[in-house]
Assembly symmetry: C2
Homo-oligomer: 358 residues x 2
């Protein structure tokens, strides 16, 4: 506490990211990073950026990267916004598109940064409970179904930390009725089994789709996020960004991102490997007595029929395996487990087998 | 304009950075970049970062970099904040430390991002005119001299775009009287001839000093800024940062920054080269009929006794030399010219000689 702080600072409850331990030899299944490194072609492109041009500012508009994203998703460059990780893109969306007199709506169980942004920008919000099966039911967001008028809607798809996917048809149902406020679909995990709502941006001018290079493209350490939507929404984000920081993406991020989009074969191969490992892990966890929510992400959300989640997490930690446990109501019995390599998941299953035997 | 924007977006006037032209073979003296590339040791460190660890998030606290900055400036790590360029650090300072009921004060002629931040965060402000000699007179900021109560004070030192330096003793005069609000000294250009106010942070708990790696450390393309001040001020900035983006600095920025601080010899050598070139350019511009403000920065601010600034800038552009011209009142007769290599400055002087002959 300090008398020098602006009023808002006293009221903030900052986000707490998953631990980034500084010791090695851990099996790190706590922050949904990709177990495979970036494409070798990306590493080559990044090495090439370590040159004298670093004395110069990057392109403030990151046009190379925007152009590559636009081509990849068959949209125009004016429909693309880029930022320093999808967290920055989301922050600008909360400030620039989702702050209105009516409350923003998002699920009760979801990405825990959303309420933090609401605190930072003083955005009124209300949460909408997931169903008992931990699904998003879009009807619960609709004015036509008795919900009050909203200032915007945001949720991840697949949702975090549940991993459950909402069908694109349900998103379209929502967009057909909710036409007066922005709907943000936060697709950090979409490449592990979902269908992107980018397919809908040409039809719905209030749809913004946010993605990241941190998960499926193995570049959490490089910080690249982006959004695709109607040029008017993108212009709103650009106005905020250009009032905040002209050059949020450095030269490595811009050019590494372009190289990542160019190596489609590597991308497909690593995504498929993770999906296969996930399906195998789900079978093994189920055999060990876990209920595992169906996942379309690079993690699973699982609760054991008998043992407490926090106790399991502590014992795994003693075996140098880190998973994530959330204390929040409704999900405190669950563990969120990132899909690692086959070897890492085998080690996890072996450790769990021993722990649950005790 | 869009009905989907939050109210604040309609009112924004975003910052316009100096042009980053996409053609080469230009002599680019418009955005105060360093004419020398980063230290070869920095380039080696950056190449080494292009590895599989990029799949992992960076340290959200960037402790390695904070530690290196703390050791370099002989302060504690709790007195150090880092951000994605000093523009991001400044943005957080405007939101977290400088927004109060009373107006923020800054010079009428200064870094043109300040009013933009005020627009983004709805910070009330008033400008304080520079003297006729384009100096900051700290007396003009003091309540004891008839100035109204302020919510904070910010100015660059050396000031931009004038390049003029304020003595550390004047900053201390200000701090001795202005004890109730935060004073931010924005030292983007301090290494080219000034004395850093970091020397004062242990004595004045309301002093925040902001610096960047973009100018004197030749890393504009990498995006590293930092602030040094009392741990309470740093905590305020951390609370804002952790409510905005957990990982603003990527792995290249963290480790490249550490390597840059480690090569003191290269840093001294390039700063000294720029200072020598500046002094020589000042003599030549003066001989060509320019009034040049005394500069402690890596640029000069100069007006010709007869020829119009915008006309000179246009003609230089025809010769593939870019300098910056601001249309703002009081300074529209000036050109801001970045110090390039000796060869670049020779080419500038030759072009100006031809232009002014016409």
């Amino acid at each position: 506490m300090s008398r020098f702080w602006s009023d808002i600072v006293h009221k903030l409850t900052p986000y707490v990211p998953g631990e980034q331990p500084k010791v090695s030899n851990l099996i790190k299944l706590n922050t949904n990073e990709n177990p495979y490194g970036p494409s070798p072609k990306v590493l080559d492109a990044l090495k090439a950026e370590a040159n004298d041009s670093l004395r110069l500012y990057p392109d403030p508009n990151a046009d190379l990267l925007k152009g590559a994203i636009a081509r990849y998703y068959s949209v125009s460059q004016k429909q693309v916004f880029v930022g320093n990780g999808s967290d920055e893109v989301l922050a600008h969306a909360f400030q620039g598109l989702l702050k209105h007199a009516e409350p923003l709506l998002y699920p009760d169980i979801t990405y825990s940064f959303y309420p933090v942004y609401c605190g930072l920008y003083n955005v009124p919000f209300e949460t909408v409970p997931l169903t008992d099966a931990f699904d998003i039911n879009v009807d619960d967001y609709l004015v036509t179904n008795g919900q009050k008028a909203n200032g915007g809607i945001i949720f991840p798809n697949p949702n975090a930390p549940t991993g459950k996917l909402l069908a694109l048809s349900s998103i379209e149902t929502l967009l057909k009725v909710n036409t007066d406020t922005v709907v943000v679909i936060d697709e950090a995990y979409i490449d592990f089994g979902g269908e992107s709502a980018i397919a809908l941006v040409d039809q719905y001018p209030n749809l913004l789709v946010v993605q990241t290079f941190s998960k499926s493209r193995s570049l959490a350490g490089l910080r690249i996020g982006f959004a695709v939507g109607h040029p008017d929404l993108i212009e709103g984000l650009e106005r905020v960004k250009n009032s905040f920081n002209s050059y949020p993406l450095d030269r490595f991020a811009i050019n590494g991102g372009v190289a990542a989009l160019a190596d489609e074969a590597y991308f497909q191969q690593t995504c498929n490997a993770i999906i296969e490992t996930r399906e195998s892990l789900v079978r093994e966890l189920t055999a060990l007595g876990f209920d595992v929510l169906p996942s379309a992400a690079n993690f699973v959300f699982a609760r054991h029929k008998e043992s407490k989640a926090d106790a399991i997490a502590s014992k795994l930690r003693e075996e140098a395996i880190i998973v994530r446990h959330f204390k929040q109501e409704r999900v405190q019995d669950f563990l969120r487990i990132t899909i690692g390599t086959n070897d890492e998941c085998d080690a996890l299953v072996k450790a769990l087998t021993d722990i649950l035997k005790d």
